[in-house]
């Protein structure tokens, strides 16, 4: 296991060093390193350690640092070094990661030295030890809220890679369901996704909510029927995995506050929000013509925000001229790209940009590597995978009623369209997708039923009531 943990700043100065084993020496067999802001978090080991465990631990350490100090950078470490040592001593014993749940740790490793009577402290400490070793290490006892609320964010990163000839090489979705639970006591939550939830490539699927049959029906009809096919799912520590394997129910006792309930991957039936048509034309050695058309493939009631299209230009671009039907375009010499920004992109609309890049003469004609055109955007109330949250049920002893909110967002992960590889000649890349009847329209409508006056509502635009 780990022999020690070291933190360095960018100059290579040692900030923290904690050895856990005798074999901790400056020159060790293997060093694992990740970066957090401006510091390097380094784990060292002398044996054939489980590398995944080490990296996961280092990631965890960084997130722990962030939740304690707000940020985990040189400044935070320097002003909290004693706390960092205290944390390290707690989360690693003999180099083995121990309980790393922030919730539990915060019970006894606190930023302010709390004043407690001896008797209280003793009672507390046995509670703490139960918590730190118990099966429910992620949740404290006795959590109380006057108003019980739960917020669910479904966030999808859609990745697209289109070849220069217009074939979709890769289209997939990395999704995550983030939850913020402000619930009293020890609530059992049950989470319901689409009526049909298929997992894996073929066969081994189980239906949720009793909609049986229609296996192998065509994709479009599946989507319309509110089903979703997920390639793979990873679930938070708190989810009962065996239940999920047996009948695809996601049941759990949530940690208090925000956490990532699940991440998933979908490759089938991915709905791409934008269709891009790019024509790049190298005119001789002195000019490149661009003609880009982007069409929004989602319902006209929805709109994407912060749409940024980055159109790479050759390295020896001297000057550009451009015209857009919407938004603003600007040549960014530092990025070697024309950046086209569209603040609001309404569904079903199409915007075009035409541009011309003048090239400066070069002594040696070097082929332009043609990086792909890339896009950024965020789009509310739309999921590319078709995933839907049907219900979230909360069961608790005291039987209180709770308010649940859900929000969907699709963002661009790596949304890239290649511009073709060979020099000279004319390249054209067109992408066409079929949009199936969109079940997400329903979500858009239910937006209207947004409850007014909720305390936290303002910070969650576009949520709808479950």
């Amino acid at each position: 296991m780990l022999s020690g943990i070291l933190l360095f700043n960018q100059k290579g100065e040692l900030l923290i060093l904690r050895a856990f084993r005798q074999d901790m020496r400056p020159r060790l067999a293997d060093v694992f390193r990740i970066q957090s802001d401006n510091i390097y978090v380094v784990g060292v080991s002398k044996g054939n350690v489980n590398s995944a465990l080490v990296f996961e631990f280092l990631y965890k350490l960084v997130s722990l640092g962030k939740s304690y100090f707000g940020r985990f950078d040189e400044e935070a470490v320097k002003s909290n070094f004693v706390m960092v040592y205290e944390l390290l001593d707690e989360v690693l014993d003999f180099g083995y990661p121990q309980n790393t749940e922030t919730e539990t740790l915060k019970m006894y490793i606190t930023t302010e030295g709390a004043v407690k009577s001896e008797q209280r402290a003793l009672e507390d400490s046995s509670k703490i030890t139960m918590q730190a070793t118990g099966a429910l290490s992620w949740r404290r006892d006795n959590i109380k809220y006057r108003k019980n609320e739960a917020f669910v964010d479904v966030i999808e990163d859609v990745n697209l890679l289109v070849s220069a000839t217009g074939t979709v090489l890769r289209a997939d979705v990395n999704g995550s369901i983030e939850m913020r639970a402000y619930l009293t006591g020890t609530p059992e939550c049950k989470f319901g996704l689409n009526d049909r939830l298929t997992l894996g490539e073929n066969g081994a699927d189980t239906s949720l909510g009793g909609a049986v049959g229609n296996i192998g029906g065509n994709k479009a009809s599946k989507a319309a029927a509110g089903s979703v096919t997920l390639e793979d799912v990873s679930l938070h520590q708190c989810v009962k995995l065996s239940n999920f394997t047996n009948d695809r129910t996601i049941s759990f006792i949530p940690p208090d506050g925000s956490f990532q309930l699940m991440t998933y991957r979908a490759t089938e039936n991915v709905n791409l929000p934008f269709k891009v048509q790019a024509i790049v034309n190298e005119v001789g050695k002195s000019k490149v013509d661009f003609s880009i058309a982007i069409r929004a493939n989602y319902g006209s009631k929805l709109f994407a925000t912060n749409v940024v299209v980055k159109i790479p230009t050759p390295l020896n671009t001297a000057n550009t001229t451009h015209r857009t039907s919407q938004g603003k375009a600007k040549y960014e010499p530092s990025e070697n790209a024309i950046v086209w920004k569209i603040a609001r992109f309404t569904g079903q609309s199409e915007f075009v940009l035409s541009a011309e890049a003048e090239l400066s003469a070069m002594t040696q004609h070097k082929a332009w590597s043609r990086p792909p055109l890339s896009m950024q955007f965020s789009l509310l109330m739309f999921t590319s995978s078709g995933l839907l949250v049907r219900y979230l049920k909360v069961f608790e002893k005291s039987n209180y009623s709770s308010v649940k909110w859900v929000r969907y967002m699709t963002r661009a992960g790596s949304y890239e369209i290649r511009l073709g590889g060979d020099t000279g000649g004319k390249m054209c890349s067109t992408v066409t997708f079929v949009t199936p009847t969109d079940p997400r329209q329903i979500i858009a409508v239910s937006l209207d039923s947004l409850r007014k006056g909720s305390q936290r509502e303002d910070t969650f635009p576009g949520r709808h009531h479950l």
């Binding site: 002398k46 489980n50 121990q98 030295g113 139960m130 590597s369």
Partner: protein, 744 residues
């Protein structure tokens, strides 16, 4: 000169600001100043630490502030705080968890340098072991066991026995790890006590965290001891699998790791257990996922039903691919493991080639590994898609990656025969870009294509010849020269081309000179009239004007061959050579088996046998049992193949080298693999070298340069795996040798 004392301005709350307010140039200038500054600081801190802080200071806040400064100085600056040791021991008894924590940290840091002072703290710590507060007991125990001082270790054993049965689970889990720590300090002491037995008993604890900690501790001890055997029977295995869901993510990992010590006696047991742990594949922590994959791969060795195995394989693919959406470090780890798993269980990932297509901004190490996977997964079915992708990579900016992509295309031509034409077309497209390094790389791979498909695709020679001028790298030059020599009779102006190259003879590297020598001889043999002027000149350079022994020897050999028996020379130099193969670099079967038992560990990043990286690591191997599916193990299959080969070869008077090869392959399956496995391997490699020489002798001398080049070549293909890996190199030769022998 004012000497700044940074610690003065640090308050526990506004610390950061104070630190940063101090510009770095304000440092003491002379050594002397450092010394006095340090001494002055120590005195000051001592005063601060020992001040009572007045009656109001109930929470010892002045002491806490002083301690914080001391701890900060201990690590962040180079000021030696060891002089304060007695004072620290003095305040250690203070009833405050916060103060104790800082004192203990100090103790762990300095105990080794000043054991005699550390001893004074021992009674305090032993006393704290009986504290009513479980957090305190655990803290004291944890600290005690970090101190590498004899008396500390000896005095911990007795109280530890009691603490292993503490009423509080947090203390019990700390005590469990403590046993492994003591074992690290003094193994004989622990082996002489009953601590390990007691630790074993803890596996029956009601608290899952305690159980997983005890297991981790046992595994740690086992890893470092030859005398201890770890056996987990089905009942135990079943029990620990049952508590998996109640453990923390780390606890789950420890338990899964321990499961590879369970040896299934019955194939249905193995299948059942594998099925029971599959839910872990959906865990969000990649350590849990990868370790679970390891256990399932391990259990598959004991499962006889092919259907069950196929089902398990389909379950492994998605989680493996999901790891690719994690951080780049985890991605790389997952990819390296995918390389491994793919060799052992090709069914996994079979349909997933697209997920390995590179993203534009993937880190280079991720890209290169993905490229390797793409090569491995490429088949006749997906070759078009793969080639489009590789052509795309070949136009990227990173030269290293571009070269590897070009090589991969060439290698695919050799790997997938029906696709050779397509691959060559792609290469020619790339050559047309005229980018120098692409052309050179393509030249090298095209030479290999000629070697695989002799007398085909010769039409492309002319394309290659157009780009002669852009060749400036030795490897590319040597490749081109080989082509010219080999096809001297079909290239119109071969002697002119060769002469151009010969002009720069003196400046060329030895590899190029060797290639030139051979090519000139080939030219002479095929077209005596054209080569007769060149040969004497080159032979003279090679034998008289060089200090390179290989070049001289080869020069003399050609000379004598040509002068004594021109007919023999022709049959030897231009004789038919065995075609090359391009199977990707595979791990040898025994290593493969071993690596599959350690999926997710560092060794899988290097893809090298564990003991070559970690000498002290305990070797892992599949334990025999009635359920073990021996005949499906790669090492067993290889041994069978080798045996068959030996029999055939013995009938035909085979070189003795093969026998030792078979012996080595056999040795791994059974008891033979231990410390002397290395020597065994050395012996094997030595004999392989001999065999390689034998085969080149059979081929005739002319082919030896190409052999050498080929050996290097295949090294390059295994993108990362073979670089700087001395022990693997002979293995490559061994495979080549084997391939050569098979084709006789």
């Amino acid at each position: 000169m004012p000497i700044p004392m940074p610690m003065h301005v640090i308050s526990p709350y506004g610390g950061a600001a104070a630190w940063n307010a101090l510009p770095p140039q304000y440092r003491p200038l002379t050594q002397n100043a450092v010394l006095t500054a340090a001494q002055g600081k120590v005195a000051e801190l001592r005063l601060e630490l020992n001040s009572s802080g007045g009656k109001k200071d109930k929470n010892f806040s002045s002491k806490k502030i002083a301690l914080k400064k001391i701890v900060a100085n201990m690590t962040m600056s180079n000021n030696d705080m060891v002089a304060l040791f007695p004072d620290i021991v003095g305040v250690m008894g203070t009833q405050s968890l916060e103060i104790k924590k800082m004192c203990f940290l100090y103790l762990v840091n300095y105990a080794r340098t000043k054991p005699e002072i550390a001893l004074k703290a021992l009674p305090i710590l032993l006393n704290d072991l009986e504290d009513s507060n479980p957090l305190m007991r655990a803290l004291a125990l944890r600290t005690l066991s970090y101190v590498h001082v004899k008396q500390y270790v000896e005095n911990t054993v007795q109280p530890l026995k009691g603490l292993l049965k503490d009423s509080d689970p947090y203390v019990r889990k700390t005590a469990a790890f403590c046993v492994a720590k003591l074992y690290d300090h003094d193994r004989h002491l622990v082996e002489g006590s009953d601590l390990i037995d007691r630790l074993n008993m803890m596996l029956r604890d009601e608290n899952p965290t305690v159980v997983s900690s005890a297991l981790a501790s046992l595994m740690d001890i086992w890893e470092r001891s030859e005398s201890i055997k770890l056996t987990i029977d089905y009942a135990n295995a079943s029990k620990i699998v049952q508590i998996l869901p109640d453990c923390s993510e780390w606890g789950q990992t420890y338990i899964l790791e321990a499961l590879t010590s369970y040896v299934p006696q019955d194939t249905s047991e193995a299948a059942l257990l594998a099925d029971r742990i599959t839910p872990r594949l959906s865990h969000t922590n990649s350590a849990v996922v990868l370790t679970c994959i390891r256990v399932i791969l391990y259990l598959m060795n004991y499962i006889d039903s092919e259907k069950t195995i196929a089902l398990l394989c389909t379950k492994l693919s998605p989680p493996l691919v999901t790891l690719l959406s994690k951080g780049p470090e985890i991605q790389y780890l997952a990819l390296r493991n995918a390389l491994l798993i793919l060799q052992r269980r090709p069914e996994v990932l079979r349909n997933d080639i697209r997920v390995f297509f590179c993203k534009y901004n993937d880190p280079i190490y991720v890209k290169v590994t993905k490229l390797e996977l793409i090569f491995m997964l490429a088949s006749e079915k997906n070759i078009r898609e793969v080639l489009t992708e590789l052509r795309e990579y070949a136009t990227e900016i990173d030269v290293h990656f571009v070269r590897k992509s070009v090589r991969a295309i060439g290698k695919l031509a050799i790997k997938i025969e029906p696709a050779a034409k397509l691959c060559i077309a792609s290469l020619l497209e790339l050559v047309a870009t005229k980018v120098s390094y692409i052309v050179q790389e393509a030249t090298v791979v095209i030479k290999n294509i000629f070697r695989k498909y002799p007398n085909q695709y010769e039409s492309i020679i002319s394309t290659l010849c157009e780009n002669l001028d852009s060749l400036d790298e030795p490897e590319a030059k040597a490749a081109m020269i080989w082509v010219i020599g080999q096809y001297a009779d079909r290239i119109e102006n071969s002697e002119v081309l060769l002469e151009d190259f010969l002009d720069g003879w003196a400046d060329e590297t030895h590899d190029v000179q060797l290639a030139l020598l051979t090519a000139t001889v080939k030219l002479f043999i095929q077209r005596p009239s054209k080569g007769q002027d060149l040969v004497p000149k080159v032979l003279k350079w090679a034998t008289e004007d060089t200090d390179n022994p290989d070049l001289r020897d080869r020069g003399y050999m050609y000379w004598r061959l040509l002068s004594s028996n021109p007919a023999a020379a022709k049959s030897i130099v231009m004789g038919e050579k065995p075609a090359i193969t391009a199977e990707s670099e595979k791990l040898d079967p025994a290593t493969l088996e071993e690596m599959c038992l350690v999926v997710g560990t560092l060794a899988t990043v290097y893809l090298k046998p564990v003991h070559t990286v970690f000498r002290s690591a305990r070797p892992r191997r599949l334990q025999d049992s009635p359920a073990l599916q021996k005949e499906r193990l790669p090492s067993w299959q290889a041994a069978q193949k080798a045996k068959l080969l030996t029999e055939r070869q013995l009938a035909g008077g085979a070189p003795p080298a093969l026998q030792s090869q078979q012996y080595a392959a056999n040795g791994n399956g059974s008891a033979g693999r231990n410390a002397d496995a290395l020597e065994e391997a050395d012996a094997l490699f030595a004999s392989m070298g001999g065999q390689n020489m034998m085969s080149s002798m059979n081929d005739g001398f002319a082919s030896s340069p190409t052999h050498a080049v080929h050996g290097e070549q295949s090294q390059m293909y295994i993108v990362n795996q073979g670089q700087g890996l001395g022990t693997m190199r002979p293995m490559t030769h061994a495979e080549d040798g084997e391939g050569d022998l098979l084709s006789f």
